[in-house]
């Protein structure tokens, strides 16, 4: 989608550099430089805001088809745009599961129709996410949706032989298996991180080893068969160490961390408020620190939201009964600024790499995550890091309200998002 309207962005700081102007025309960046002539273009005053390449989320739940009461492709992609995203990967655990070319094509078309960001469906690895036999991965890859990322997210591909086959099979079309690392037997009935807090609260524990054992196994498998592995939502210190070790051996593994795992800890469960119930669970302060370090040193490649909308009745309940997951698209960049930039662990170029360039590369997108340069697609986010805001679920664009950051004061605000030169967000408002 392109537009005939041209936009001149004044005084934007590309990746936090010196203020300059950017002219967007015909879906591309037409010119960059100080004091560009407006020449009839629509002028957007960035007023010193930071220009980032449009963000790419490798891990989003848009809930459509099946749970349109929680989110739709349209509402979820609007939430993505509000968060500065120009592309999202929609996880396969819909109803029906995105395990056929038909379903992935449906999601892909819904995304195109909505037009707020590129929606790339993730294909299920196994039929119905049951972990029993491979879904038709090739058919999904060959469909108009051109699926390259496959995941049973929500469920672990726990069968080692099946995981091996999946890793091998997707090499034919340069795909990647994104593993939800959760050893099922070690986490039967698990409710929260196993440790001091779970023991005190009497909630069934979710041991770190249940994640780490699968990651270790999968890294070794991927290395053995020479395949690409992506690890979803890394949440423990041990996982970071294992991935660091696997990379040092030359294993082709990438990993993601969620904003909430960069900030929140399991002590929040003390309230028994299931808004803090998530899979994998919130861990300890020591884990949070290791995740930040891992993201800073490149052991963890990207930030992915694991945006998981749920209707209020799924959360206003006893902890055991509640659904797992939290929304995150509209707060991700603020949380990353708070935990990584304001702490000095990352600069804005590092943020752009971890929230745009690398996720695009893992998902094999060619027109997203590009550098901000003349001739590149005009996928841009203007972000004011000096703003602060109190997170208010009522003002969320997402259809759901289950944000764990409610009431928190976080830095930064997305002023504008451009998708191929078209503003999806302008003046902080959805267009």
């Amino acid at each position: 989608m392109t537009t005939t309207t041209r936009y001149l962005i004044r005084n934007a700081r590309i990746l936090g550099g010196e203020p300059t102007d950017l002219l967007l025309a015909h879906g591309r960046i037409d010119a960059i430089g100080p004091d560009l002539p407006a020449d009839g273009a629509e002028v957007v005053d960035a007023a010193g805001a930071i220009a980032l390449p449009g963000l790419v989320d490798l891990h989003t739940h848009l809930r459509e088809p099946g749970r349109e009461d929680a989110e739709t492709v349209a509402t979820g992609s609007r939430a993505a745009a509000m968060g500065g995203y120009t592309a999202v990967f929609a996880m396969a655990n819909t109803d029906p599961v995105a395990d056929t070319a038909g379903v992935v094509e449906q999601v892909w078309r819904l995304g195109r129709d909505a037009g707020y960001c590129d929606v790339h469906p993730v294909g299920a690895v196994t039929v119905g996410l049951k972990g029993e036999r491979l879904a038709e991965l090739g058919a999904m890859a060959d469909s108009p949706a051109k699926v390259r990322v496959f995941s049973d997210d929500g469920m672990c591909v726990s069968d080692a032989q099946l995981m091996r086959r999946a890793l091998e099979y997707v090499k034919a079309f340069d795909g990647v298996i994104a593993q939800h690392a959760q050893e099922p037997r070690l986490t039967e009935g698990a409710q929260m991180n196993e440790g001091v807090v779970s023991d005190r609260l009497g909630l069934a524990g979710w041991p770190a080893v249940a994640e780490e054992a699968i990651i270790a196994r999968d890294c070794l498998l991927a290395e053995h068969v020479g395949s690409r592995l992506h690890v979803c939502h890394v949440s423990t210190k041990g996982s970071v160490q294992i991935i660091r070790w696997a990379k040092s051996r030359g294993c082709d593994v990438t990993a993601e961390v969620t904003p909430h795992h960069l900030l929140l800890t399991d002590e929040l469960a003390e309230s028994y408020d299931p808004v803090y119930k998530v899979n994998p669970p919130l861990r300890t302060a020591e884990d949070v620190e290791a995740l930040r370090e891992g993201l800073a040193d490149g052991t963890i490649d990207i930030v992915a939201t694991d945006h998981a909308p749920h209707p209020s009745e799924a959360k206003e309940t006893e902890w055991n009964q509640a659904a797992m997951g939290m929304i995150g698209l509209e707060t991700a960049l603020s949380v990353v600024q708070h935990t990584m930039v304001d702490t000095g662990l990352l600069d804005w170029a590092g943020v752009a790499q971890r929230m745009s360039a690398t996720p695009a590369r893992i998902g094999r997108l060619t027109d997203q995550g590009r550098p901000i340069a003349v001739g590149e697609p005009a996928n841009l986010t203007l972000y004011d890091p000096t703003a602060t805001r109190v997170i208010d679920p009522a003002t969320m664009v997402s259809k759901s309200r289950n944000t764990p950051f409610a009431g928190m004061t976080l830095p930064g605000r997305v002023l504008a998002t451009f998708l191929r030169g078209v503003p999806t967000v302008l003046d902080g408002k959805i267009q």
Partner: protein
């Protein structure tokens, strides 16, 4: 304190106030007319999502002896079995003007969640594998009655600690009251972070028995062996069951407690359960007094002013 959700919420003074009050109120139960007008006009709802006749009757008797109006709300055969959420049930109780809700639920934290949704007093009568504070209070009360004190007592708690709300509440309360607690169980039935708890741990019952003033046996569900917490009921019983031989190795003054329901032949032999050292039936009796004290202090608001609780008569 507005609610009683965790034994850990009680300060030492508050816990002692409850025990002292329970002592005074226990005299009511010895009268021919077992009734006080204290909570007349107050409504207490017993909201029981789990079958627990023992605990429900105990709370019901306690509330009725204080002249409160009691509504028993059992999950079975109610709107709950038709899918009504805890929140909606809470809002219903709120709308009916319940002054206090006694809740028993299989989900840890259910009492705490309920307290977020109602204005009245919430008393946790057991929330899954989390806590059972009034059980700990009646246990402490029983120790005081039998042994004259709680402070300095050496208390062994034996059994399925990991899944036990009774153990959690007792560790918190007994520690607050100055007892020395030792947890005894196979390692599989202990919480993983038990080394951070304010108590000692042993895998060897025979080593702990002679040094204990109180031995509290917890129910162990035989089904646990299907999840490999232990190999068989017989092996559990051999290593951690309290039988007459082991009873003989306890100190002469030491008592045997059990919160019930007992699995005779599993964690405790019938002989021990029925012995004079066993306080099982006293615990039931004391439960009513302790729950009267809790209802009186929370619904009467007196717990805000320790030392000025007034005369319960």
């Amino acid at each position: 304190m507005q609610h009683l959700l965790s034994a850990g919420d009680l300060t030492r003074d508050e816990a002692l106030l409850i025990l002292d009050t329970a002592r005074e109120l226990s005299q009511v139960s010895e009268r021919s007319v077992k009734k006080l007008p204290t909570l007349r006009g107050r409504t207490v709802v017993n909201l029981f999502y789990e079958d627990s006749t023992r605990t429900r009757i105990s709370f019901e008797a306690a509330a009725k002896r204080m002249s409160a109006d009691v509504i028993n709300f059992s999950a079975r055969g109610s709107s709950v079995s038709k899918g009504e959420s805890l929140k909606d049930t809470a809002l219903t109780l709120q709308a009916m003007g319940a002054d206090g809700v006694v809740i028993r639920h299989s989900a840890p934290g259910a009492a705490r969640r309920l307290a977020d949704w109602v204005d009245g007093v919430v008393i946790n009568a057991g929330d899954g594998t989390h806590e059972h504070p009034t059980q700990a209070l009646l246990d402490a009360y029983t120790m005081r009655e039998r042994l004259g004190r709680v402070e300095g007592l050496r208390v062994a708690i034996v059994g399925d600690i990991r899944h036990s709300r009774v153990a959690r509440s007792n560790v918190l309360l007994l520690t607050t009251l100055g007892a020395e607690v030792t947890l005894v169980a196979p390692p599989t039935l202990l919480p993983v972070s038990v080394d951070t708890w304010p108590c000692a741990v042993s895998y060897d019952l025979d080593e702990v028995l002679p040094k204990s003033d109180v031995v509290m046996m917890l129910r162990v569900q035989a089904e646990r062996m299907h999840s490999s917490f232990f190999p068989s009921a017989r092996e559990y019983s051999r290593r951690y069951g309290l039988d007459a031989d082991r009873l003989a190795r306890m100190a002469d003054h030491a008592i045997v407690m059990h919160p019930g329901p007992m699995v005779r032949g599993m964690e405790i032999s019938a002989e021990v359960a029925d012995s004079a050292r066993s306080t099982v039936t006293e615990q039931v009796t004391n439960g009513v007094s302790v729950r009267m004290a809790v209802l009186y202090l929370l619904l009467g608001g007196a717990i805000h002013r320790p030392g000025n609780q007034g005369e319960p008569r």
